[in-house]
Amino acid sequence: MLRVLIAGIYLADRPNTAGHLLYELAGSGAHEVTQRWTALAPGGEGYCDLPCTVSIKIAPVPKFKLVDAVTRDADAFDWVLICDDDIELPAGFLDAFLGLAEQFDFALCQPARTADSYIDHGIVMRMTGLSARRTRFVEIGPLVAIRQDAIPLLLPFGDDCGMGWGLDLIWPRIIEGAALRMGIIDATPVAHRLRKPASAYDHQGESLAMFRRLAAHPHLPRDQAFTVLDAYV
């Protein structure tokens, strides 16, 4: 049975779907699932007592720094899933999603988003006529799956990764450079409609950090990243 590590983060002081996610992901019948959730509770506000809560932060900490903190032993798992707290999953999500990821040999992947989700990049919207696509783009959220062979390539993110803007343009260079494949799974879409992405932090600061990050790392231009290389019915 493959071992899966869920690295989740939830905002304790806002409506979220973390309880639903915990329940759905724990229901896997084909994977051994370890869940580690970090609660963000600014000033100690909110409710942080969900099962599998391993850490509570009362001061702002960038998302990917939190992910690093709970994935230090990531190489002991077959898959690491980084999960936000504002998505809704179809029943039986994890087994179906990872089954397709294995079938299409994706080392880095994510589920497509339903058309009624908040979507910044059209390429992540579900293509209803497909099971999956090999792409040059996997967005940094709301759910990202990293296979064991890609874990040492992508983790840890490092202290300067902040909220991760721009990583999704750097990842394809790394994944393709290692002769691995990345993609989006359309058959197991998630709904991302609870709140707008990036609604909880400083846009301008993140945008500046993104350009510094892109300047420092090989990356794809956006028009090349937003490309489907293969489609699977």
């Binding site: 304790a12 409506p15 979220n16 779907t17 309880g19 639903h20 609660a39 509770a41 100690g44 506000e45 909110g46 409710y47 942080c48 007592d49 969900l50 809560t53 509570i56 009362i58 809704e88 999953l89 179809p90 339903t114 058309a115 009624d116 990049h121 059209g122 390429i123 919207m125 579900r126 293509m127 209803t128 006529g129 497909l130 696509r133 792409t135 197991t188 879409p189 998630v190 709904a191 409609r193 609870l194 956006r222 028009d223 937003f226 490309t227 489907v228 489609a231 019915v233």
Partner: protein
Amino acid sequence: MLTTHNRAYLLPRVLDALMRQSLAPDRFEVVAVDDGSTDETPAVLAAYRHRLPLRTVRQAPSGLAAARNLGVFMSRAPVLLFLDDDDVADCDLLVSHLAMHLRRPEMTVAVLGFTDLDAAIAPLPLMRHVTGVGGQLFCYGWMQPQQGLSFREVWGGRTSCKRSLLIEHGVFNPAFRFGCEDVELGWRLDAVGLRVIYEPAARSTMIRELSFGDFCRRSIRQGRSQWLFASLHRAPAVREYCEIDRALALWPEVKGDFAAILRRAEGLDRMMLQRGPAAPTLSSASQTEVDEAYAQAFFLCRAKGIADAASLPPGPPRSDSSGVPRFAVRPGQGMPADRII
């Protein structure tokens, strides 16, 4: 970008025309998206794989908007031209679109080309009506070369745009399986400054004949899509474009006579077909009577589509949430953070 569904019998003419382009083959590629065809479409496309710079991709049948989205992301070229599978390109079609984009390199500029009817179908009374005085299919009579147009003239099978415009600012809404998918995208892109330029030198020819029944069915589907368009975007300009209020006001009054109105128009259509193209020209009054019968029939079909869609229970504000039931988010009942810490 060529999207196709069960038109294997037309594809050779469409693909042959792309082989005759004045634009060198190393300056373009054809991305063909097969929207779940069950006929010989895969074999026809395969036969052209080494004769054209052609890539093909297949999806389960999902409609025009979904097929076009797949094509957008499969394509690599900076300029995309959307082609229908019943339109034959003039040999200068691609170079004419490209020339206009070189002249107007702004990301927000799209180009509308000109489509004529094939000589074999141009004399047919219905085809002449829907591309002429009726204008229900397309109508260029009022346009001037290089005229700036609006979202209303983003006509799917004859429009080109920069790929970057779509990947940065929005793709087709897959809820539109047929009809309005192009204009609805145009409406959204209008908000970021879309400008549509008419370029009549970019010519194509429609080769598929539509019967009276075909056009009625098409109009009903168009009406359903117009209701969806107006439901998604509650702007007066959209409601007016879709003629929602006129349709909803008229339909209850005439639905009892709907079948009789269609039968009469179909009878006139049959009579016109039997006269043939060689018959003497109809008197002005008779021609007007025929055109009014067509116009009434096709508008009522659209009105039926709008009224049918309007009578359905309201769905989610945006489409395609299938497989993911909405999770009820409730305030937490657990232990406050400070107590855990």
